[in-house]
């Protein structure tokens, strides 16, 4: 069948799987909310302090939640042999992988948008910063999935890949963290954020083009 059909089939199957394992899928989201809740408890509940920290806190928590969810991207496919079948498909692996990453983002990245207002409420983030928070989440969470996919692909064959995964992936997340949280930070004080948003968009395009290839190469190495 055609490549588009194959990619759609992958997306449909992964969404269906996520739906059947929904209890598991909610974990990163809960983790995200819980990490954000910990901050006021640790640093004190002064409104101005929390508000100043809010963009950073939200983005660090989003990064950690993304990291936690990454393992689900290829793990079960690796264990039950589906990954081998994916490799044997006559279609280009890097495109098929994009389908997997897209559905992973739909399941783990997109829900962050839904809880974002809750967090803004917790941390006293001004309402005028909400659109920017959403925009950065829309632009940056796909990047977290794309970049993270390289790391998971490299470590999926390891029994204790988790620790190494964070060592590999977190440094690569730093630019995303810097620009996304700075955009939200500026939005809270009503400053323009076009520069940050443009950079995030450019980085997203770059990630879309550049990450599938190394991910495919790494998966081939892992299946070996």
């Amino acid at each position: 069948m055609s490549l588009t059909q194959a990619v759609w089939a992958i997306i449909r199957r992964d969404l269906l799987l996520a739906f059947r394992r929904r209890a598991e899928m909610a974990n990163p989201l809960l983790f995200f909310v819980m990490v954000v809740t910990l901050f006021p408890l640790a640093v004190g509940a002064q409104a101005n302090l929390l508000q100043a920290m809010a963009p950073g806190v939200i983005w660090v928590s989003a990064l950690l939640a993304a990291l936690l969810s990454l393992d689900g991207l290829f793990r079960s496919d690796f264990e039950d042999g589906s990954l081998e079948q994916l490799l044997l498909s006559p279609h280009p692996l890097s495109v098929l992988i994009l389908g997997k990453i897209f559905s992973h983002w739909l399941v783990t990245g997109l829900p962050l948008l839904l809880v974002a207002p809750l967090l803004a409420l917790f941390l006293g983030l001004p309402e005028k910063a909400m659109p920017t928070l959403w925009l950065t989440l829309i632009l940056a969470t796909p990047m977290l999935s794309l970049i993270g996919a390289i790391g998971v692909a490299l470590t999926v064959g390891l029994r204790r890949g988790g620790m190494i995964l964070s060592l590999l992936v977190l440094p690569l997340y730093i630019p995303v963290l810097i620009f996304a949280s700075s955009a939200v930070d500026r939005a809270t004080s009503g400053l323009p954020v076009t520069a940050q948003i443009n950079i995030l968009m450019a980085m997203l395009l770059l990630a879309l083009v550049l990450t599938p290839l190394p991910t495919a190469a790494a998966l081939k190495m892992s299946v070996n």
Binding site: I150, L158, P214
Partner: protein
């Protein structure tokens, strides 16, 4: 491979064959050591004795002669590792894999030196051991990248797979380094204002510059020696049952 003329390609394959390279390394190391000392001694003398004290920072600036070359080396070695990774992935040359993984601890060492000396230099200047200065922060992230490479290589049991994984990682890392560097610079100017970093441009006088360049070249030669030593070890590990290792063992040491 076909783009490269046959004699050149043959030359590379011969040089890159493990026994040939092993012997070549043995021949090169003494010469490189002499060259290293010829650069190091005048470099140190010029830097620690001849060069005048800085009018603002006094003698503390003399840390520059290791801090800056080490910082240069840390980037240089990572880029070199990525090139080796590319060669290893495209042409499947075992030597490139070996050079890549041999470089990692040396590069991490230089990164560590750049960090610690930066902090030791910062203390008298800023009054604290650590400032989130752009260069130090980038250097810290670079250290994480190096540690990622070494721990990934260590974690994968089959060393051929491990070399492939590390090659991919080094290439991904090298694409990210400019992005990380740029974003950190940008973040730094945003949050701190440009006054902090006197460290980047001390008023450089020619008598200060020459030892700096000597030290920079000396560090490069040191890297060549260290990487050859490490590569000899890695080659032996990877090729332990090959014929050339067996005949090497029979020769009287």
């Amino acid at each position: 491979m076909s783009i490269i003329p046959a004699p050149i390609s043959r030359f590379f394959h011969k040089t890159a064959s493990p026994p040939h390279f092993y012997a070549l390394a043995d021949k090169l190391i003494p010469w490189l050591t002499v060259l290293f000392l010829l650069l190091l001694i005048p470099g140190l003398y010029g830097g620690l004795v001849m060069a005048p004290a800085d009018y603002q920072q006094g003698d503390s600036y003399r840390i520059i002669y290791i801090h800056v070359p080490a910082a240069w080396m840390s980037l240089f070695i990572y880029v070199l590792m990525a090139i080796m990774g590319g060669i290893a992935l495209v042409w499947r040359i075992k030597l490139a894999e070996v050079m890549l993984i041999s470089s990692a601890p040396i590069g991490a060492g230089f990164t560590f030196i750049a960090l610690v000396t930066g902090s030791l230099w910062g203390k008298p200047m800023w009054g604290t051991w650590w400032v989130w200065d752009a260069r130090l922060t980038s250097e810290l992230i670079l250290l994480f990248l190096y540690l990622g490479v070494t721990s990934l290589y260590g974690a994968i049991e089959d060393k051929r797979d491990a070399a492939r994984a590390v090659s991919i990682l080094a290439l991904v890392g090298v694409v990210n380094i400019p992005i990380i560097h740029y974003s950190v610079e940008w973040w730094n100017t945003l949050h701190q204002g440009p006054t902090v970093s006197k460290m980047d441009k001390p008023s450089i006088h020619i008598s200060m510059l020459i030892p700096l360049l000597l030290m920079a070249v000396a560090f490069k030669v040191y890297y060549a020696i260290a990487v050859l030593q490490a590569a000899k070890l890695q080659l032996l590990k990877r090729e332990a049952s090959a014929q050339w290792v067996k005949s090497l063992l029979e020769k009287p040491q």
